[in-house]
Subunit: 349 residues, 2 copies
DNA sequence: TTCTAGCACTCTATTGGGTTGAGTGCTACC
DNA sequence: GGTAGCACTCAACCCAATAGAGTGCTAGAA
């Protein structure tokens, strides 16, 4: 455990805020002038040397200023920084922006991602709710070929899942309608995570053993839900071009790596899954702490949305490590809370 | 109309193929050695000077080689270049790649876009079918709140459209089911473009005037289809990072402009709409010919897919003007034909 | 003991001159 | 009409010199 004196903290904070602002290594003179502690540059230099020894600052080369290390940022974020409170009018603006005609979930989440990116001038990211965390609302079997059935599954929060299944025998739409209403009845309002189990249970029950219709309907539902894509996650990443505005991405090679990472979304999904599972409010991952490669030198501020005990997905902001944390953190926090409200509302109906 | 001698054409072709390969301005010496016509560099220089006067070649500065202008590329593509035929095994590979478990339309198109990007090492783009060009298959009204109804509309090709509508009075699911089957009956197999008309017609008919259920069902369907997003287009752009591998994007500023363009998809949609409306097979747009800004110095090779007289959408490849047209054009052409087959098949069932 | 002033030192970034080499345009000649 | 030769142009590269920001260290003040 690292213990810092009051002055150490002040210097660390001064270096970080200045670095966040300018992106350049910060020298002792600058801090001496800017910071509230009235000490000379030489004194600052001593403190900085100490902080460097602790691994909180780093010097690109001997005759340059200091920049914070991820470790230094972590301490700053966790115990020094004070998040700015959002102004009332800022909150109103966010509400306004997101509430506008909440047509369907997809639209809402996409807009959220876009909003986060624009408002924070970084990339915004939203992880879709997995179907399994929502509740069953409706299933529909539709004939789509002689031996093909299209299955539409809808959750209470308005998510849609579509899949096609092959059926071994010719089947009429009328028959399918009967299946639909039987299954709808059976699964009404169940959490989708326990639907599989419920179906299996029912298949073993007396009814299914003797009622041919029920047996077939159940078999069809089973196949539909067995579909591999059922548990897939999806994410929206918007505003990648904002990142290019940061001088740290003047380097093409770095930019290329980043774009590659964004295109192979599975990595980011895994990363967000961590936040989802932890589900303990806002989470900040700093580049080098990321055991999954690809986001080096980047930073991810994320928060789960949904009810605390039953998070639906994750939303957040991806940017360079040099971000205005004190502003972005409350924005992400508030957005998550607000989206949660909207979705809970839908899911309760 | 520009008329070129055989030799002019050969020189133009040689410059372009070399430029496509290397990305560097091409000098007279190189051409003299590479091309089949056995003439000296000096002669080539004379020809090149002529071609430059015609606006087909351009010299970045006095002591550099020549690069083709868009005008020069156009002539090359339209009348000089010979598209390579795809090898049998290449076609098999494409088929293989795309046919794998064609689960739903979205998945298919997204995979197509990704495939195009990987195979051509550029960005791949696919414009979704608009709902209005497909045929009606199924509509479903689902109660999603006391006075809220979720409407799911499905086309024969498997597209799904979801919307929410407010209803002025409390309504039960049982009632909604009746609406669904009535409307399904009515609209079965109609082209979605004429559905609006059909509904209006029916509303004026005797039946609707006296049958309250029918009247309400029709009103509900009308509202659902009236929804503004009904005619929206959507596109997938994949493989943007491939573009970064091209040395012409070493320039960050240019890259930034390009990413911005990709994020504001409406421009590209408009651009693709041109191909869709023209619907005359493969279409090539070269950067500066693009009256919509944003794709300067880029080039778009696109082709509509779907039946010739009833195109569904557009797919293609976006890359720098320096692309291997003779290879990519047949790939886009073949992919479009193949996707058309798959989708037609689905739409016919 | 803690802080500060001063100074020599280090290292990057920038500037400008010199050189290289690819490629051209022109002219004289085949 | 085609070619060889030659002087010329221009970007790219290398190199050395310089400027400037910032440090570490030491000696002395509080």
């Amino acid at each position: 455990m690292i213990i810092l004196t009051q002055r150490d903290q002040s210097v660390l904070e001064a270096v970080i805020t200045d670095y966040i602002e300018t992106g350049e290594p910060v020298g002792s003179r600058t801090i001496s002038k800017r910071s509230a502690l009235n000490v000379s540059p030489a004194t600052i230099r001593n403190v900085m040397a100490d902080l460097e020894e602790l691994g909180l600052l780093h010097q690109p080369h001997t005759s340059a200023g200091r920049i914070p290390t991820p470790k230094g940022l972590r301490i700053y974020i966790d115990s020094i920084m004070q998040s700015k409170q959002l102004e009332r009018q800022e909150r109103d603006l966010i509400r306004e922006e997101l509430r506008r005609k909440p047509r369907d979930v997809k639209d809402l989440l996409q807009r959220t991602s876009r909003f986060l990116s624009q408002y924070c001038r970084q990339a915004g990211v939203v992880l879709w709710p997995k179907l399994t965390v929502t509740r069953f609302k409706h299933i529909e079997f539709i004939r789509s070929g002689q031996q093909q059935v299209m299955v539409i599954l809808i959750s209470r929060s308005g998510l849609i899942h579509q899949t096609n299944i092959d059926w071994t025998e010719e089947i009429s739409q009328r028959e399918l309608d009967k299946y639909s209403s039987y299954v709808n009845e059976l699964l009404q309002d169940l959490p989708l995570s326990s639907v599989k189990e419920r179906i299996r249970e029912e298949m073993r029950s007396e009814k299914a053993l003797f009622d041919k219709l029920a047996a077939r309907a159940l078999e069809m539902a089973r196949q539909a839900i067995h579909d591999s894509s059922f548990e897939d996650s999806e994410i929206y990443i918007e505003g990648q071009s904002n990142l290019l505005d940061n001088p740290e991405f003047a380097d093409v090679a770095r930019m290329r790596r980043l774009l590659h990472t964004f295109e192979d979304k599975s990595r980011i999904i895994r990363l967000l899954d961590v936040t989802l599972k932890a589900s303990a409010g806002i989470q900040i991952i700093l580049g080098t702490e990321d055991e999954f490669q690809g986001l080096q030198e980047m930073s991810l501020i994320s928060s789960p949305y949904g009810r605390g005990d039953r998070p639906l997905g994750v939303l957040g902001v991806i940017g360079p490590m040099r971000m205005d944390y004190s502003r972005i953190i409350p924005v992400v926090e508030f957005t998550a809370r607000f989206i949660s409200q909207i979705l809970e509302l839908a899911d309760e109906n």
